[in-house]
């Protein structure tokens, strides 16, 4: 009997060792070449790998993912997904599962992560403001309430409404910058010291609806829905206040039907120029970033939504608003001219470049596909099935200011 038990024991021991080896080597996954793709219609995300060009896992239960976006922890292990329904979901991309999930407001739009990776901020429509959470635990650290709207109708519970918050980004030195849609303000929230410091710029222009920050974290630029022009803050000199630039940028007098306001976060900065989606017109504008004057215009296929520069700044890729959203155009930044037109299929919603720029991934929503192209020849390399994909976010964003 002892002999039998010994045999059984050694069998199990061998099994233990081999099971553990399988487990540990299967689990070993570096995170530098990973990403998360939003599947908007079903409240799901896919975890992907851009070296093998494959989907690794699908995770559901993320709520309303319209307009959802993602930032990453500084170790590139956790993806923070900002949903439209106020959901903030922390996904562990090594374990392929939700680590934590909270409903932090009734209606939210986008978020950011601090330079040191310790704070996650969410911009909210209802109630208007920014909530800041501990990135590890998702416990509330600060609740920054937006300006009260005294002349607006009240909330259902009788409380006074607050301005919606948009265009939230991170900036160096533990700062978050954001715009207040209803009260025409830009605020800087400085978390570098134990006590939060708020700097408020008022009368910045009518109804800021989105914003961007330059890749070096210096310039914050908000687009205006209520008038033409944009509002710029030089974060190296916040004492100089807000400067109005690009006075003709916007819907103009013609009041063309605007199918979709362009995304400002997608602005391409290449050399001395920014390539900017025109509002409501079939144009990409070329802006000199020294003077902030428009220096050129490139006619394109439709109303541009995202205008994105390759990591080497040699080409700019453009997608378009409905009904022309089956097309991608490629612009050469030196000649400032179109060099290619692609037809990926209906509903091209977003693009993401691999970190060093050899490939670009596209969400083609109505075809239920992610398409992967090489940037040099602009040839389709591979397709991955996905349910109504929208935003694509690679982990290399963890290392970039403002993303």
């Amino acid at each position: 009997m002892n002999h039998k038990i010994k045999l059984i024991c050694s069998y199990f021991l061998a099994l233990t060792v081999s099971a553990c080896n399988i487990t540990s080597s299967n689990n070993l996954r570096a995170t530098g070449d990973m990403g998360v793709v939003i599947e908007r219609a079903t409240g799901q995300v896919q975890i992907v790998n851009h070296t093998s060009k494959t989907a690794l896992a699908q995770i559901d239960g993320l709520g309303d993912l319209s307009h959802a976006s993602i930032v990453y922890s500084r170790d590139q292990r956790f993806a923070y997904v900002f949903g439209r329904d106020g959901g903030l979901t922390k996904i562990d991309i090594l374990k392929d599962k939700i680590d934590k999930r909270i409903l932090q407001s009734g209606n939210s739009i986008g978020g950011a992560i601090s330079q040191d990776g310790k704070l996650v901020a969410v911009s909210n429509y209802t109630p208007g403001g920014v909530k800041v959470f501990d990135a590890q635990t998702l416990e509330l650290v600060a609740d920054i309430k937006a300006t009260q709207l005294l002349n607006h109708e009240k909330n259902k519970d009788g409380s006074i409404k607050r301005s919606k918050v948009v265009g939230l980004v991170d900036a160096p030195d533990q700062r978050f910058i954001f715009s207040l849609f209803d009260s025409d303000e830009i605020w800087i929230a400085d978390f570098s010291k134990p006590k939060l410091k708020l700097t408020k710029f008022t009368d910045i222009g009518r109804a800021p609806y989105d914003a961007l920050i330059s890749p070096d974290g210096r310039y914050y630029i908000a687009g205006l829905f209520g008038e033409d022009g944009m509002a710029l803050v030089d974060l190296w000199h916040p004492d100089k206040g807000v400067r109005r630039i690009l006075e003709n940028y916007g819907k103009g007098d013609k009041k063309l039907p605007v199918y979709k306001m362009p995304h400002l976060e997608g602005w391409a900065m290449a050399g001395d120029f920014a390539f900017v989606p025109a509002v409501g017109q079939h144009n990409v504008l070329v802006i000199n970033t020294k003077t902030w004057f428009q220096e050129g215009v490139i006619k394109v296929h439709g109303q541009p939504v995202f205008v994105m520069a390759q990591p080497d700044n040699r080409q700019v890729w453009v997608n378009f608003a409905f009904p022309r959203n089956d097309t991608i155009q490629v612009i050469d930044t030196q000649s400032q001219s179109l060099i290619n037109t692609l037809k990926p299929g209906k509903g091209v919603l977003h693009m993401e470049f691999t970190p060093r720029g050899e490939h670009v991934w596209m969400s083609v929503r109505d075809e239920n596909l992610i398409q992967i192209y090489d940037t040099k020849q602009q040839q389709l390399l591979k397709q991955i099935p996905a349910i109504s994909p929208s935003g694509i976010f690679f982990t290399s964003r963890a290392h970039q200011i403002g993303l």
Copy 2:
């Protein structure tokens, strides 16, 4: 007996599961906030984490690590260490061990990884040339022999010597660029098609000794040991050939004692200006990158070695050659003036910024320390013991062109 066996079995099963859980959760490590530090004197490296500011592991058996440098696989799992003795070592930073190691030449200096991460190239002194390896297997893919030196003395074995190769970098579209010290050439090796294509520029200036590539991968600039000035190739227009720039850059007529030729890879590009270590003089030069003319000079503590810009381009950090290598100076890029002088200790050899720039790590060789400072206040945050540390390389380099 059956009962006993069942009991034993369930005990082992429980053990298996718990052992596996421990194994798998201990092994889970994301790679976005990791790095490798060279310990030159002992042929070792330390694997570090820049969120927890700790050393995770030490690995030995890497041979002669004088002047050693590192590139990363695109998933940020493998560090390729280029040793001085021709050793090419692939380290698995998830398993804390050497994955593969080869001796690929007798004497080598630096390397690079291709845009797609599939090729690793090493520049060799003896025999002079570049060897290119499969990044996964380290099998030889191409052996690019440098120009023969017909008027030099022969090798011991009677074969004709070839030029030493220096300043090897990667560029977009699967290219490697490098300089030939003895034959005054710059070569482009293009691996984008099945058949390797070599482009050779001759008479580029006397004795190129090191080179850099701009962060967008457009400009390759080689420093000259044999005369003043530098050689520039615009990789967007290689047909235009080599242009000579900065005609006064170099040792000049005075022939000052040069304790150490500055590292060109460390050039700081901030806005329209490059901040460049002067050769043999106690100056940092300010160069306009539109005209490539010198526009300013900043007096510093000693002969600068590395001149490195923070990720937000607001400040430039400088270390110095022996005997003044106990000091670091910080330059404000807007006012182009010194704002701080630090005394970390003897033998400050290298610096590395965290990806979004909140901290900088320094190797202080003769104190056997790695020091970590915050970039805003320039205060020492922590010290980590290390044996004669030199180069520090964080995994975020995997996502950058030319690093």
